[in-house]
Amino acid sequence: MSLFRDRGVVLRTMRLGEADRIVTLLTESHGKVRAVAKGVRRTKSKFGSRLEPLSHVALLGWQGRGDLDIVNQVEVIDTFRAVREDLDRIGAGLSMLEVVDQVAQEQHANPALYRMLVGALGALAQANSPMVSPAFFLKVLVLEGTAPYLDGCVSCGEEDEALLVAFDLLEGGVLCRSCRRGRPLSPEALVLMRRTLGGGLAGVLGEPRSPLTDEVMTVATEAMEIHLDRRLRSVRSGTLA
């Protein structure tokens, strides 16, 4: 057994035995890590609330021989308290954790994904912006090498914005009126998605919730579901919001 030190965000926890939990984290340098936190469910546990989903922690752990590590010490970097005390933001935060849990791999460092997640949770703690999670989904698609093409029709190359009316991730992006497949896309949603991926994220996060942001959320969710080949339960069961 060797000792390791890393920073990570708690994605998920699962009860184990009487008082323990298996904690899944996305770490900066060790990829996705699954570790046992002993006694964490006891109210007197030294881990306290540090190992709850959404927490950003620095941890010291034992690398196990099997697929489970053991948590030794935990320090909180950020609990994103504003997120966990607002139902809408919990929903948005958990949907990002669910995506990361699906995308991240064990023993495969993905520091870019880690930085994006920490950044997105920080943004969510700053403001209850409806665009944080859809922007995160789109950026994860880019990181995964499946960036949706938004500059013109993926089928015929048509660039006239007025003619770009549909979106289909299976085709690779937006489609024009004559090639349309997938779902309809409003011109305003296309603009918002282009700004999200084209360096205008700060402005995008200032958008108040509207049918437009709901549309982008739906498009981004469906695109992510196609990429993962799986429903996003936290969004679908998310009658939370």
Partner: protein, 202 residues
């Protein structure tokens, strides 16, 4: 590939389906039962059968019950009009041990867990709403676990119930008795500070 004679493998498989029991433990328990006296094993089997035959859920609060209603709902001395909402029936035992609560309970049968696909529909929330008028409920105490799922459940219920003009309170979550301040994490400490109360200067 059956490793053991059929009945033995069946028991190992059944044990392995229990929460918190892995394949190794399932095997260990099964062989323990195999070695132990027949009457011990029969007692266990009968206890399981008796629970399944005689215990069901209280039709009012979803606590475990031997009758239509649970012991607490059947007790005339319990105050009506105040409901303590918990996640699991076993939480009732914890609250009862304090001797501080004399109303009735409502067991949600879980907590909101969006990632696992548990939404409000999967919990006994509709049934809770139905009780409000039936029992002329004035006060609700949300006694869900102080973890992310429990807090989310409490927030959801508060948002649902507060507009109805009831008193809705959440148990204070703070420092564990017997713990040292220096070991408290910041979230626990922050909640403890919020839940602080006046203390008499004797």
């Amino acid at each position: 590939m059956p490793l053991y004679p059929g009945p033995l493998q069946d028991l190992i498989d059944e044990m392995g389906r229990l929460p918190g029991i892995g394949p190794k433990s399932a095997q260990r328990i099964t062989f323990h039962l195999l070695k132990s006296p027949a009457e011990d094993a029969m007692r266990l089997a009968q206890a399981i059968v008796a629970v399944k035959e005689r215990i069901s859920l209280c039709e009012r609060c979803f606590d475990v019950a031997e009758d239509t209603y649970c012991v607490i709902c059947n007790d005339d001395r319990r105050q009506t009009g105040t409901i303590c909402v918990v996640e699991e029936a076993k939480d009732i035992v914890s609250v009862e041990r304090t001797g501080q609560f004399s109303g009735r309970y409502h067991v949600l049968q879980g907590s909101l867990n969006p990632i696992e696909g548990v939404g409000p529909e999967q919990l006994r929330i509709k049934e809770l709403l139905a009780r409000l008028e039936e029992e002329d409920v004035q006060e609700l105490i949300l006694c869900t676990n102080p973890n992310l799922e429990g807090e989310a459940t409490a927030m959801y219920l508060a948002r649902l119930l507060q507009p109805l003009g009831l008193s809705v309170t959440r148990i204070a979550s703070g420092l564990p008795v017997g713990g040292d301040l220096e070991y408290a994490d910041d979230l626990t400490l922050a909640r403890a500070l919020e839940g602080r109360r006046e203390i008499g200067n004797a």
